[in-house]
Each structure stands twice: as structure tokens, then as C-alpha cells.
């Protein structure tokens, strides 16, 4: 084993313990403390040329950092953003230049600092002893005494009237919080169970509002649909639904319309006449957590939710065949009106959307 060439702070403590005689002697220790390896100097410690070279390196890194900081300011003003951004090699010049210059300015300071520490700062091994995390005995006793003094001075134990009325006052403070928070928004009440769909309302293509005839729909077709009412105006020319009311209604009423070979469909009991010639209509809102679904594989008749991979078989009543969704996709019963367009037979017969509330 090597002998220590330098005094270590740790040794003082070891000597002190041995002097008290409370710890057993380390003679019997099967693995002797190897101590620290001998300190070997770096080239920069002994060679003045190497030292100056390292100094120049670090200064160069810091200097480059300064250059990049200045380039950051230059590119901030040089490159246009907004309607006609400057583009270099297919990238927005401003973003890329700002990111690269600021990143390099920061990085070079860090690299320079590490180089400085490794080459030039003192690298003599130093031992720092741990100390207990708790306060001293004296401090702890003082704190307990101060607390006891406070309790006895306030007389809270002797005056139950004050104590009980204080507890009562603090408890009553909870009431305003409960009342105010409860009033933050209206309770959903029956809204969760109904949508704007009703008997005779036309199914239209989303965005355009085109009404749909059965003969317009091919086998294997997918239509992202909405109720026609979102595209209708009130007598005064204003839309019947707009703003947040439109969004609220849309989140429940969005549908997908698909057409399959009628022979491929196995309708659940009681839903035999819910489709038109192989055209079926389902809620677009996943029954898991309510993502809109339209990832439809026309050959397998599977509808996949992109959020958590719940998969519904639309040829089989929207049954869940994979994933976390707990119940089938609600189906909208449809028929054809006197003008030949697809319309709803009624509203959805069950609540649409995620299944997180009680559906008694």
C-alpha cells in the first residue's frame, strides 16, 4: 500500500477517535483503507509552455462565445420573421440562427470552464467530511422549550371556550370555499344524455354541409358527418349554433357514416333497421376518453382511436374488440326522408362520449 504523501483532514478525526478509545482499533480490519493514490501533477502544472497553451485555449473558447453572442444579436435584426420570413436551405433562418448562436455562446462558456478546471485550476485531492443533518441537542431542546412556553402562556388548555370557538371559526371558513367552488359551472344534469340529433334531421358532410343520399355513398366509403342544424340559420340570418354553443353541441353530435356490404353486417338485436342498405352511422366520439375517431379500415370494418388504440368493429354494432374503451360505440339509427336524403330516426339512444361518469 502506498503511504500518504500529503496530510489529509480525515486523519485528524481518526486520531481523535483513537485517542478517546471508543472505537475498536483498525488493526483487525480485513480490508485496509487504501487511502488516496499519490498525487501526480499535470503537464500544465510543471510545463510553463503547456500552461500558457491551455490558457490560450480557454481564452479562445470564451472569445468564440462572445462572437456567437454578438452573432445572435446580428441575426435577431438581420433575418425577417412574420409574413415573409427569411428562408435558408428550407429552414426559417431566424429560428435556426438564433438557436444555433445562443446555444453555442452558452455551450462554449461551459466547455471553456471545464477546460479551465481540468487544465489550470488546482487538482489536489480534498476530503470533505460529512456532518449530521439534525440540529444540535441544545437547539432542539430550546425549540421544544419555546413551544411549551407558548402553549402555557396562551392558556389554550385552561380556556376550552376560546379553543372550541377558534376550531369552530376555522371550520366555518371552509363553507365559503365549498359554496364558491361548487358554483364555478353549471352541473351537466340531463345534457350528457342528449345531443341535438332528432327525428328527421339530415346527416351532412362536415365542413361543407352537403346533405347525403344513399346512392352517393360507395361501399367502403367513410363520411365525417354532422347534423344539418349546424349549417342552418335562424330567421334573422344568424346561425342557429355558433361560438362555444356550437363547439359544445359538436363535441356530442359528431358522427361517422360508413357503408359496407350488407351481408357483412351483423346488427345487434333490435337494430336490424337502423341502417340503410349497408350504410351505418356511429358517434365519432370514442367511449374511452372522448377523442374524435375517424381512422377507419374499410376492408376489416375496424375503427381505431388514435389516442389509446381502442378498436371498434362497425360491422358488429360498434363492439369494442381491442383497447381500453369500456362500451360499444353508440349507433345513430338512420333512414331516408321523402326527398331521398339520409336522416336520423331519433337522437342517440344512449349517452355518447367518454364513460367516466355514472350512467345509471
Amino acid at each position: 500500500m502506498t503511504t500518504h504523501q500529503e496530510p489529509e483532514p480525515g486523519n485528524d478525526e481518526a486520531v481523535a477517535t483513537a485517542a478517546h478509545g471508543t472505537a475498536p482499533a483498525v488493526v483487525g480490519d480485513p480490508i485496509a483503507d487504501p487511502g488516496l493514490p499519490p498525487h501526480e501533477p499535470r503537464p500544465t502544472d510543471v510545463d510553463p509552455h503547456a500552461e500558457r497553451r491551455a490558457e490560450r485555449q480557454v481564452a479562445t473558447l470564451f472569445g468564440l462565445s462572445t462572437v456567437f453572442a454578438i452573432l445572435f444579436v446580428v441575426s435577431y435584426f438581420a433575418f425577417d420573421v412574420g409574413k415573409k420570413p427569411t428562408v435558408i436551405a428550407g429552414y426559417g433562418a431566424s429560428n435556426v440562427a438564433l438557436g444555433v448562436t445562443l446555444g453555442l455562446a452558452l455551450l462554449l462558456i461551459g466547455v471553456g470552464a471545464i477546460q479551465w478546471a481540468r487544465k489550470l485550476m488546482s487538482d489536489v485531492e480534498i476530503v470533505e467530511m460529512r456532518h449530521p443533518a439534525s440540529s444540535s441537542e441544545q437547539d432542539r431542546e430550546d425549540a421544544v422549550a419555546a413551544l411549551g412556553q407558548g402553549i402555557s402562556d396562551s392558556g389554550i388548555a385552561r380556556r376550552p371556550l376560546l379553543r372550541n370557538s377558534l376550531i369552530g371559526a376555522l371550520a366555518a371558513l371552509g363553507l365559503p370555499a365549498i359554496v364558491a367552488l361548487r358554483d364555478l359551472g353549471p352541473l351537466p344534469r340531463g345534457d350528457l344524455a342528449v345531443t341535438v340529433w332528432k327525428k328527421g334531421m339530415r346527416l351532412v358532410n362536415d365542413v361543407a354541409g352537403t346533405p347525403i343520399k344513399p346512392e352517393d355513398v360507395e361501399i367502403g366509403q367513410l363520411i365525417n358527418g354532422e347534423p344539418a342544424v349546424f349549417y342552418e340559420d335562424k330567421p334573422d340570418g344568424e346561425p342557429k349554433f355558433e361560438g362555444t354553443r356550437l363547439n359544445d353541441a359538436k363535441t356530442k353530435a359528431a358522427i361517422i357514416i360508413v357503408r359496407m356490404q350488407p351481408g357483412d353486417i351483423t346488427p345487434p338485436k333490435g337494430r336490424e333497421n337502423w341502417g340503410v342498405e349497408g350504410i351505418l352511422c356511429y358517434s365519432k366520439i370514442c367511449t374511452h376518453v372522448g377523442c374524435p375517431i375517424s381512422l377507419w379500415e374499410q376492408q376489416t370494418h375496424h375503427l381505431l382511436c388514435p389516442c389509446h388504440q381502442s378498436t371498434f368493429d362497425l360491422a358488429d354494432g360498434g363492439k369494442v374488440i381491442f383497447g381500453p374503451a369500456a362500451r360499444s360505440l353508440p349507433q345513430l339509427p338512420i333512414m331516408v326522408d321523402s326527398e331521398g336524403y339520409l336522416v336520423a330516426q331519433s337522437d342517440f339512444t344512449e349517452p355518447v362520449g367518454p364513460s367516466y361518469w355514472e350512467r345509471g
Binding site: E40, D47, P85, G90, N95, V207, L304
Partner: protein, 259 residues
Amino acid sequence: MLGLVLTGGAFALFSPAQAETGQADQSTVAQGRTLFLVGCASCHGRNGEGILTERGTQYGPPLAGVGAASVDFQVGTGRMPLARPGVQAERKRVLYNPDEIKALAAYVASLAPGPSIPTASQYSVSGTDSAAVARGGQFWRTNCTACHNFAAAGGALPGGKYAPSLSGVTPKHMYEAMLTGPQQMPVFSDQVVKPSEKRDIIAYVKRLQSAPNYGGNALGNMGPVTEGMAAWIVGIGACVAFAVWIASHSVRSKKGAKA
């Protein structure tokens, strides 16, 4: 698996399409039939009637009624002829020249009415204004992003299938894909998504693809997957490299020890 795949393919190709008859002269049809007998009949049957496997599944689907548009898409993007059976026909080198594809399409269209190849005036996006592009974006986000990704970079489907990236796809082939619904893709008929709306969608995709990456490298526009990979592998990798450098032993001099 093979049977399943081919059955799937059969449905895609067999989906009845818009009844439009593309009139083509008899010599083109005859030329198409010759090409068909050599390159397609081994799977699709000598008269495009389809071939069943022993288990009753589709070996090659019947082609009556798929229309010229379907042939132009499948052969024009290299998906047909299939290199090998698989979960999905992939886009690859096109094996027929434009005249041959036209002849094949004319022959298949002569079997039964089906959607014809769209004309340039239907799919050409030259002259579409920003309003059309914006409208196309609305349709795109409503109907297409679920599978093809918000930036048309494509995405995964169950069982090894995928929605392909639209990078480098011609407007004509995009139009035909919407019209015919190849493989797992649903049909978007002209009666529901009107030809002008289809053109707006194509204009939006083309604008999207030609737009510069204002924010820097988009990492394939695949969202958190590639961004996370970059952060973990490149970002954390660099941090680890720096930590190793900081803690590594630096060069020591024997000269000093003796001195």
C-alpha cells in the same frame, strides 16, 4: 395471413365505384388485354374475374367495376403488379410506361363501368388561391389526418399496415386514391367530397409540402415520437458525453513527479 391479405385486397379493388364509362377505342382495349394476360391474369384471372384460393379466399380480386382510375392509381404508383404478397401493396418503381397503363386502364374499364381517370382540370392545383388552400386544410384535418398525419407524413395502422406518406405523390394519384379507396383507405366519393373540394385538399397538401420549416428541422413531422428520440438519444447522449469528459482522468506528467 396470405388469404386474409388477399381478401382485403379484393375488397379494396372490388368496391363498386362511380358508374362512369370511359370510352376508349377498341385497339387500346385490345392492347390492354394483351398486357393484362401477360402481367395480371395469373392473379386476377384471364378475364379479370378474380381467382379464389383453395380455402375460398381471394388470391387476386375480381376487377369488374373497379374502373380506370383504380388501375391508373395501382399501376401508376407501382403498387401493382405486387412484388410479393404482404399486408399491404407498397409504392415502388413503376413497371409500365404511361401508354401501357392507359391501355390496361382502358381494358379494365371495358369490363364494367367504374370511375374513370380524372382529367387535369379536376386535380390541377395551379391557380388555387389561399382561400382554397385554407378550405382544403379544413377538409384535410377532418377527413385525412387521422391516418395520414397532420403533415401528410403517414402513420401506422394495426397489423403492420400503414397509411403512406404523401410526399412526392402526384395530384392525379391523390385524387384517384380518394375516388377509389385503395386497400384500407375509405372511399371519398365525388358526390360527398365534391371534385372542387378534392382539389382544395390536394392544393393544401402541396402547399404544406412546399412550405419551409420555419422552426428548423421538423424531424419527419412525426410529432413526439421522433422529437422524443432526438431528445433522449442526441440530447441526453450529449449530456452523458460531457459528464464522462468532466470526470475522466486528465493527462499526468511523470516529469513533475520526479522534480
